[in-house]
Homo-oligomer: 366 residues x 2
């Protein structure tokens, strides 16, 4: 199968064969103490809506994609299985150790080919927030249409501010429909660079959302990361048989540890092989408590998540209080963040939200 | 008995007849949520030493004074009795409602005269902190010597800083020993006035410590607050008999609500009847969390009170953490104050310590 001669099954109704892969990794250490090594961000009901981020993610893709495959760490497999019982156990792919995103996504691609033949696969992080599922799915449908023709497609989020927290996609010449060439990927910019990109226009945030045919991905990988490609094919061949444990034990730790951005997106974009489909839906990675407060509250107001007991203030603007089993009063501290989990209490302010990533280590050092 | 002809028993060994009165009132609302209406400051082990402030106070006066009388609210009588079992139940004088310090101290004076005849009484708040008990008692002995001769004596604390939190005593002409006339009492000054007083010298902090003969106090009261004087004498006469409840119910609420400073100290000082004995011992009223942190910790270091679990910091100078059953991490907030009681969690900073008095009301308004 090549781009010139696509699988007719995909052409006839690719949505039937779209397979979503959800890499569920990353602790989310700036959300400590909610996030913990044994309870990473994707397992959290971060907004107190009653659904965890991975449950939201699965619910969001299910109308598009009958088959959902989740790739996660072995230690999280039981929790993931319990949270998303609709995903069959066979589709919970467990990693013995983190080998970065390329190994996870490539193993998923190889397993999909092994089990079901070539398909369009879409990969979305397990811990992002997208309120408008329908707008998201419309963009994925367009991305899948472009992917069918052999492009690696990245969904580019329309920037709403000159954020320095994300990489940017420089959009090039128009392709069919809404798709455009990717001229280049840029790393997270400084504030001045970000402001310049927003002023010039033609840039989108890179939210790590990739849509591509499994054969296209694995074909690029054969050229660009042959060891990794061979390794995941070997593991996939053994996955559903008696040799899985032996092969994984032998091969997994030899897989090149690299992000899909560096392994595929950047070099293939340089060859003209990556398209971007712009998505204008609201998207948040909710990476820290400042984002969570921004997302959850009216400006200057109190935000309480995951708790029923009152929060009061004296001369204190807009606290975010998460969890806990007692009333909380904040006095004289603006933008306070007070988070209580079973394990610990965090006290900080929104402007220090990035430093929370060092909290667990500071506690371990006491 | 007059100043010219003192009770020979007092002259012979006044320490045997010194009776200490401890007015135990005041919630200490700036120490919320540790302090609560049902658990006022004097019942707290504020420094985590294993002794509450009233226990400390009783222990401090016991070597001076065989008889200790505590005046407290009816709702606190059981807790006080449990904390200081060495004080006989008959010496726990309960007020049906707060009528300010003059009513409490005057009732104690009248009860002392009723039960044991004229004595020197010394009155000390139940919720102050004095680390050096021996130095304190030496000052009280000197004050009692001066009181024996008919003066109302106030112990004046040597100022260590130009505090705006206390009233000041302006010291006048020398009397015998270390005693001096009180030229005047001044209200809590502003910062400039306080600095001026410290620079000029001759001022002491008024810590509300009064030593005087019961007959001297009640004599002044007969002249200056006759209704109050008659009321406490009537209550005292009935106190140890069957009519107590009826008399208290009828008379208590008619007693003038006034502080001893305004009822006695200021007008009698204007007549030349008040002496001050300087005390150079360390004294703290520990009125708020800023004082508690100052008192408990090395500058810039973490202070943990009433808890065993760790406190860690990231980019956060000198937090004070009181109580609680979980590790606490403070990130990016200098001088944070985190207090957990059974009832609530307070998050503030030392510079806002005064505003904590509004916390309970803010919570009640939620």
């Amino acid at each position: 199968m090549t781009a010139e001669n696509p699988d007719p099954r995909i052409v006839s109704d690719f949505l039937d064969d779209l397979i979503t892969v959800i890499p569920a990794g990353g602790v989310g250490s700036r959300l400590w103490p909610l996030s913990q090594p044994h309870r990473p961000k994707f397992l959290l009901d971060l907004l107190g809506t009653g659904a965890t981020l991975i449950q939201d993610t699965v619910a969001r893709v299910s109308p598009l994609s009958e088959r959902v495959m989740i790739v996660t760490g072995e230690r999280h497999a039981d929790a993931v299985g319990a949270q998303v019982p609709a995903v069959p156990a066979a589709n919970l792919v467990t990693e013995p150790s983190p080998r970065d995103s390329m190994a996870a996504i490539a193993l998923a691609a190889a397993l999909i080919e092994q089990r079901w033949g070539t398909a369009v696969m879409a990969s979305f992080a397990a811990d992002h927030l997208i309120p408008d599922g329908e707008a998201f799915r419309a963009t994925v449908r367009e991305a899948a249409r472009v992917a069918r023709d052999g492009k690696v497609v990245v969904i580019g989020i329309e920037p709403t501010e000159p954020s320095t927290a994300f990489g940017y996609i420089e959009m090039g010449d128009p392709l069919s429909g809404e798709a455009r060439e990717v001229a280049a990927f840029t790393e997270k910019p400084d504030a001045e660079t970000a402001a310049g990109m927003l002023a010039r226009g033609g840039y989108a945030w890179n939210a790590g959302m990739f849509v591509m045919r499994t054969d296209v991905l694995l074909g690029h990988l054969d050229r660009l990361q042959p060891t990794l490609a061979a390794g995941v094919r070997e593991i996939a061949a053994a996955w559903d048989g008696p040799e899985r444990a032996d092969v994984v034990a032998r091969v997994w730790s030899t897989l090149t540890k690299i992000a899909i951005d560096h392994a595929i997106a950047e070099p293939v974009a340089a060859e003209g092989g990556v398209a971007v489909v712009p998505g204008s839906f609201e998207w948040h990675d909710v990476g820290d408590f400042d984002s969570l407060a921004e997302l959850s509250g009216a400006a200057g107001g109190t935000v309480a998540i995951g708790r029923d007991l009152p929060v009061a203030t004296v001369a204190a603007r807009g606290p975010l209080v998460v969890g806990g089993t007692k009333p909380v009063v904040v006095v004289g501290v603006d933008d306070a963040v007070v988070v209580e989990s079973d394990e610990a209490i965090l006290v900080t302010v929104r402007s220090a939200a990035q430093r929370v990533k060092d909290a667990a280590a500071a506690l371990a050092d006491t």
